[in-house]
Chain length 468, copies 2
């Protein structure tokens, strides 16, 4: 066991660096035993390091005894080992490894960390495309087994790619916004009153009282706007005590939130948000092509398409498209999930984009703090954004006038006492502002064309799952 | 009220751009009324935008009537207004404004958002240095009044600077780690079992069961290491149900967390963490000098000093220094807060640094998952890091062997059933690894030499405060 006893001079070479350039060099490598196969006086190992792997050969001869070959053959899969070996060019490409042109002729082996003999799931099964599994009758791994054994499931090339790409989304989001002059803020998650009326909120025991988990950072983003930060963003957990067991709902997810003061029109903000998403899509396609292709191997999917500038449709236009497709909907009716998806297909056919903005939602289907449209009292200055026909962002110009906010709250039958602090935030001069919240896991899922949000949350939380 | 009725062509000029280069131009500016003072046929306004302000003059004449001067004089402080005016060079510098060489001769005024007439606190009082206040008997603002009216308190030049710098800390932390090849992860905050034994944990009602708020992302960081991400970081809320009412404890704070697999020695990780902090300190001193100076005006403080490479002392060396200074302490006794501070002063005197690492803590004072020192069974492979004599990071090599982890847990009297999932994470091959967690608010506070952590949390949470 490595207990930091020594600081040896030994350099460990990355598996990804084992190429013909290193041919005939003696190297040390630390990697996992992905597979091992003994064959007479030889043992073939596949050594894996993240998404890379290389073939290693232990053969009875000058550097290895019969015992060593046997020892190598008996190391449990997933154990971490250090091997010393010579890099040898191979005559025939090794199709099953990422390092196809070389193999490692092993001289020494040390076990760094031994895995237990029985693995709860096999990595090869876990990356097998579903269709192939059905067709050939070969095993795949179901969602619960994956999640119950997440530490192993996350080692697959697909999982490694998904979460590296997700890290990239966060990075691109912040990089873009910091370049646009935004300030990052940190908002509290424990709050004294349920922010949006009290439904779907988790209760926390807070010393001798009760408190709640924030369903969104919206109030705090808005307070920062009232405090002159002008353009703010935050990335943090968002909690929804909703008993929804669907492919796209989690009880805890990561919100990428934006709020921004504008000069004259909330479209200034809509454009900034849409451009931020476009910069994310572009950045992913430029910097994460390997990851996208890795995921596509298991989950084939059309590349994500988007326009510049982003397509913006008004709600009434969407209604017309849906009606033309035979859907009956009232002017002030919200989109159902199937209608959202249908609309996504219609928009894709007509405009060839997987990303668009739906603007000017009916006032009746939006929260009380949504600014009404001054030109049409039944509409509002609010918008959703969609990827592959599913909502990833909801936003609006917020009412910044305490008088109008009070009227709107009363109209919605909201107890003014409960939102007093919210309304009071706007009493000492508040700039006009708008914003929105993006669900990180949904963006990852829909960009990659995956079908379950549990694939894009490291440790997902839903009404039935709190572990690991 | 701006309800996004129009998209006018008008350009709003930033207050910070009002310089002699713009002399004699007609400009539109949106800003807050910081002060107004009527004097016969004239009214002087100070217009403020974030940390910048400019003098504006409304005088009876060609462009302004007597009524307009009266109107201007009666606009409540903190209201947001749009003014059109001519930029005029002034003969004598205006000492009370950041834009000292020009003033604005106002031709038109519109109120964009009116503030209520009585402000709960005065911005000028809120930025007055405490000493001056006492000496001259002029008003300052106490902490609770500030926090109760945080939206106004955050508008002060000091608050604007503190939180812009804090945004910079997060940015520098991530920038450095992404350059070092780390992956950002998002860890769940709602967990099924109390991670560190059950004390000081908040309970959440989770549908029909109970759950808890994570006291640290440590288990999840470690699981990501066992899942081959190798180097991970996260920024997120950390919850401690500790009834501590001190200058440096919050019940919810922001953790900057790092975990990393290493090759041979945990000092590889210690060096990466220390270098990350050094890059943050350097970046702040390079990019945030204006903010540092702004905060120093209200809270004077020596510049933050650090060495490269970072000073690393062993615990026994620190004990010797304290004993030489007359402190009586046992070999396996933890540092008290006063002793920490004293040690900080002794280290500063001897080594001229405000930042150092204290390594090799007694095993007895560290959690069960801390790796014992193989050379000395009473010591451990663990470390804290200090800024100006206060702890900002605690970390260690973690036990990655399930057998030893079980032994250590039993030694600490921990119920194995409760940490089964934790121990099981290491059963399928776990690389040696170490890490640590940094408190964001403490880093901000101690870098700036502030004295209360509530000054560096946007909306602080402590046992007595859950609002706003």
């Amino acid at each position: 066991m490595i207990q930091s006893q020594e600081k040896p001079d030994r350099v460990l070479v990355r598996v990804s660096d084992l190429t013909v350039q290193k041919a005939d060099e003696v190297v040390w490598v630390r990697a996992r035993v992905h597979t091992s196969r003994a064959k007479g006086k030889q043992c073939f190992l596949v050594l894996r390091q993240q998404q890379f792997n290389v073939q290693a050969l232990v053969a009875v001869g000058d550097h290895a005894s019969k015992q060593m070959v046997k020892f190598a053959a008996n190391i449990n899969k997933e154990s971490i080992i250090d091997v010393e070996g010579v890099v040898r060019k191979v005559n025939q490409k090794i199709g099953s490894c990422t390092q196809q042109d070389v193999e490692l002729h092993v001289q020494k082996i040390y076990v760094i960390s031994l895995a237990e003999p029985r693995l709860p799931l096999q990595l090869d099964d876990a990356v097998r495309p579903e269709v192939e599994g059905e067709e050939e009758g070969r095993a795949t791994v179901n969602q619960d087994t994956r999640l119950d054994n997440r530490v192993i499931d996350l080692r697959t090339s697909t999982s490694q790619a998904v979460f590296r790409l997700q890290s990239g989304i966060c990075h691109l989001f912040r990089e873009t916004l910091i370049n646009k002059g935004f300030v990052e803020i940190q908002t509290p998650k424990i709050i004294s009153a349920a922010s949006e009326g009290g439904a779907n909120v988790f209760t926390v025991s807070y010393f001798k009282n009760n408190a709640y988990l924030a369903q969104s950072p919206q109030l705090y983003k808005q307070m920062c706007i009232c405090a002159d930060f002008e353009k703010v963003f935050c990335i943090g957990p968002v909690f929804r005590a909703e008993d929804s067991n669907t492919h796209r709902h989690l009880t805890e997810f990561v919100g990428l939130d934006i709020e921004m003061a504008f000069n004259y029109h909330y479209h200034e903000v809509v454009e900034e948000i849409a451009d931020t998403l476009v910069q994310i899509f572009k950045g992913l396609q430029e910097r994460f092509q390997t990851e996208i292709q890795t995921v596509n191997k298991q989950f084939p999917c059309e590349p994500f398409k988007f326009l510049e500038p982003t397509l913006r449709l008004e709600y009434c236009e969407a209604l017309a498209m849906l009606r033309e497709a035979g859907i009956e909907m009232g002017d002030e009716e919200d989109l159902s999930t199937p209608n959202e998806k249908l609309l996504g297909r219609l928009v894709k056919e007509k405009y060839d984009t997987d990303f668009y903005i739906l603007d000017k939602y009916p006032l009746a289907v939006r929260p009380f703090y949504t600014m009404p449209d001054p030109r049409n009292p039944k509409q509002s200055n609010s918008y959703d954004m969609f990827m592959r026909g599913e909502e990833i962002l909801s936003g609006a110009q917020r009412v910044h006038d305490p008088q109008l906010l009070t009227e709107r709250a009363l109209h919605h039958g909201i107890d003014l006492e409960k939102i007093k602090a919210y309304i009071d935030s706007f009493r000492f001069g508040a700039p006009p502002h708008a914003g929105g919240g993006i669900g990180l896991e949904r963006v990852t899922m829909l960009f990659l064309g995956l079908h379950n949000i549990r694939q894009t949350s490291l440790f997902p939380r839903d009404p039935k799952r709190l572990t690991p």
